[in-house]
């Protein structure tokens, strides 16, 4: 087998060697990827969706308490206080121990000495607001506590009713301890307002010194003040042993959870039910078909009076369509735009007359009932059909 007759082996071997050498050199440098940028998921909103979200009440109260938007009730916040409930039930005569950690140690001793605990639960909800001053006015009270409680029993029913309508800021200046009796009902209001629970304020005044009811009241309200109580606790000596670090499963799972952040219902201790102040042009509801039909009729009726066109070229069917943008009062915004300019010059006069009609009817009369839906009719396409209009 001579090389001359069968050069295949040599040729192919040489070729492969060359190829390998080329690959060794070309593979020596592998190009790096560009550093990938993190992508952020974006949700697209249309104009009308945005407006629907922003829809608010003009008459909504200004809440001085900055609340997080809560769409769902949190489960954890309510689960916690269950453990600490029992002491309050058992030793009835003594003032409820749960109330103590909120105040300063000095105050808690006083509170124990005073035989009148009933205002304690009333006082606590007020603390739910993170105001540091509140402790001071509260300290002045305990001396006179016996009477205020009685007075409070008489006054609240009428005092609560008017105050409930007032915006909250009124409740704020409470720190001045001018009259203790006045100061008393106010904290209650604050309880009543954010939470839709009108029953409580009436319940409280009734029993003058019924410890059983007290314990119940305490239990009801404890869940809500829980988060605020936690930091205050270490102050009181007797309770210092109690706040064992809770084994919070959800906290662990939160740490471990590496899922991409998705939108979840924001949870809070209470549902946010007060509507926010939205933009005035926002539209929550959509126009019904019948409203649309009425609006179309109204517009057509007005345009019919503005439109005069005589030289009707009947051989060709041409309906000028004009895009018009309205202001909120029905006036024109920008120039009307002819969407389908005619090819036939004979029809141009028809189109021009339609444009003229739009300009002549400049402030259109649009009934007030359509104001809330401005967003939906602000841009319209008006058809000037000679058969319909003339």
């Amino acid at each position: 087998m001579s090389l001359r007759d069968h050069p295949g082996a040599a040729l192919s071997g040489g070729g492969h060697a060359l190829l390998l050498a080329a690959m060794v050199f070309s593979f020596a440098h592998s190009s790096k990827f560009d550093d990938a940028q993190e992508t952020i998921p974006v949700e697209m909103l249309t104009d009308s969706q945005f407006n629907q979200i922003m829809k608010g009440e003009k008459t909504a109260k200004l809440s001085e308490k900055p609340q997080q938007k809560a769409q769902k009730l949190a489960e954890i916040a309510e689960a916690k206080p269950v453990v600490t409930r029992d002491p309050a039930k058992t030793d009835v005569p003594t003032p409820p121990p749960r109330a103590q950690p909120v105040e300063d140690p000095g105050r808690s001793e006083e509170a124990k000495a005073a035989p009148t605990p009933p205002e304690r639960p009333v006082d606590e909800p007020a603390k739910a607001q993170p105001e540091p001053q509140k402790a001071e006015p509260a300290k002045t009270e305990p001396a006179a506590k016996a009477e205020p409680a009685k007075q409070a029993a008489v006054t609240p029913p009428d005092a609560v009713a008017p105050d409930a309508e007032e915006p909250k800021p009124v409740a704020k200046p409470k720190p001045e301890p001018k009259k203790v009796a006045e100061a008393k009902p106010e904290p209650k209001k604050i309880v009543a307002e954010p939470k839709p629970r009108p029953v409580e304020p009436q319940k409280k005044p009734e029993p003058k010194f019924k410890p059983d009811e007290l314990a119940k009241l305490l239990e009801e309200q404890k869940p809500k003040d829980k988060p605020q109580e936690m930091p205050a606790k270490p102050k009181s000596g007797e309770e210092s042993a109690e706040p064992t670090p809770k084994f919070d499963l959800s906290a662990i799972s939160r740490l471990l959870n590496k899922d991409a952040p998705q939108q979840k219902a924001a949870t809070g201790r209470e549902l946010q039910q007060v509507a926010s102040l939205g933009s005035p042009t926002a539209s929550a509801s959509k126009m019904s078909p019948s409203l649309w039909a009425q609006l179309d009729g109204i517009l057509q009726d007005q345009y019919r009076h503005c439109w005069n066109f005589v030289g009707l070229a009947g051989q060709q069917k041409y309906v000028p369509q004009i895009h018009v943008q309205y202001a909120q009062d029905g006036g024109l915004v920008g120039a009307p735009e002819l969407l389908n300019p005619p090819a036939d010059p004979n029809l141009r006069s028809l189109a021009d007359s339609a444009l003229r009609a739009v300009r002549r009817c400049n402030p259109l009369r649009i009934p007030a009932q359509y104001q809330p839906f401005y967003d939906q009719w602000k841009g319209r396409i008006v058809r000037f059909d000679p058969e319909d209009m003339l």
Binding site: A9, L20, V24
Partner: protein, 248 residues
């Protein structure tokens, strides 16, 4: 060991000394021994295939040229006896070997027994032609089956190397308890390299096999056509001689 492998190992040694992380050679050297064997085997198969392809292409071209030349001489009207004497002097291929084989049989019958009948000469000549056609075709299509085998088997062999490499890289993941892509990627790259070599060997082999197979079939048809024509010429000669003998 064929030259390509020598070259490969030689280059490999130098490349490994440089020790870049992702180069072809470090990929080869860090591979498992099974994967290495698969790669070397596939490389050898590729070299062999290309050798066969080149040889066959040259052979087929030569055969075609020889056939053309012979047909030109044969149909030029020269005396067949003269042609036989010139051709039988040297080794022949293709159509010429058919012609020489048939003429030899013819001459043997005519010279050996001048008085004997020509009964059976026709059948003998056809047998001889058939045999030499078979011999020629076999010469043409020898080794083509290697191409077919490589074309069909080497992807699987490469896949085997890949699976093995990925298996071992998974085992090293389990051992190192680290799943970051930087740990896994080199192993998988080297495993996939095996499949790449397999495909690199298989694709040309498959294409060349189909092409060469078609060419050989064409040559075979040419040879058979020539054999038929030549045997009909000889049979005409036989009949003429028989008639001549009877007349004499």
């Amino acid at each position: 060991m064929n030259p390509a492998d020598i070259a490969a190992t030689g280059v490999a040694a130098t490349g490994f000394a440089q020790g870049s992380e992702v180069s072809l050679l470090s990929m080869f050297w860090s591979a498992h021994i099974v994967v290495k064997l698969v790669m070397l085997g596939l490389l050898a198969a590729s070299v062999w295939c290309w050798a066969i392809i080149i040889n066959k292409a040259i052979l087929l071209r030569r055969t075609q040229r020889a056939i053309d030349q012979f047909e030109e001489v044969f149909w030029s009207g020269a005396s067949l006896d003269e042609l036989y004497t010139t051709l039988s002097a040297r080794p022949t291929s293709g159509m010429a070997s058919l012609f020489v084989a048939a003429m030899r049989e013819w001459r043997r019958s005519v010279q050996g027994a001048a008085t004997s009948t020509f009964m059976g000469l026709q059948a003998r000549i056809e047998k001889v032609l058939d045999v030499s056609i078979a011999r020629e075709v076999e010469k043409l299509e020898s080794n083509l089956l290697v191409l077919a085998t490589v074309a069909s088997a080497s992807p699987f062999i490469g896949l085997f190397g890949t699976v093995w490499g990925i298996m071992s890289s998974f085992r090293s993941i389990a051992a190192s308890r680290n799943t970051s892509l930087a740990v896994v990627a080199p192993g998988i790259a080297e495993a996939l390299f095996a499949t790449a070599i397999g495909l690199f060997a298989a694709i040309p082999a498959l294409i060349a096999y189909n092409k060469l197979q078609g060419d050989v079939a064409k040559k075979q048809a040419q040879l058979e056509g020539f054999a038929d024509e030549f045997s009909s010429i000889l049979s005409r000669q036989i009949d003429q001689r028989a008639a001549h003998d009877q007349a004499a």
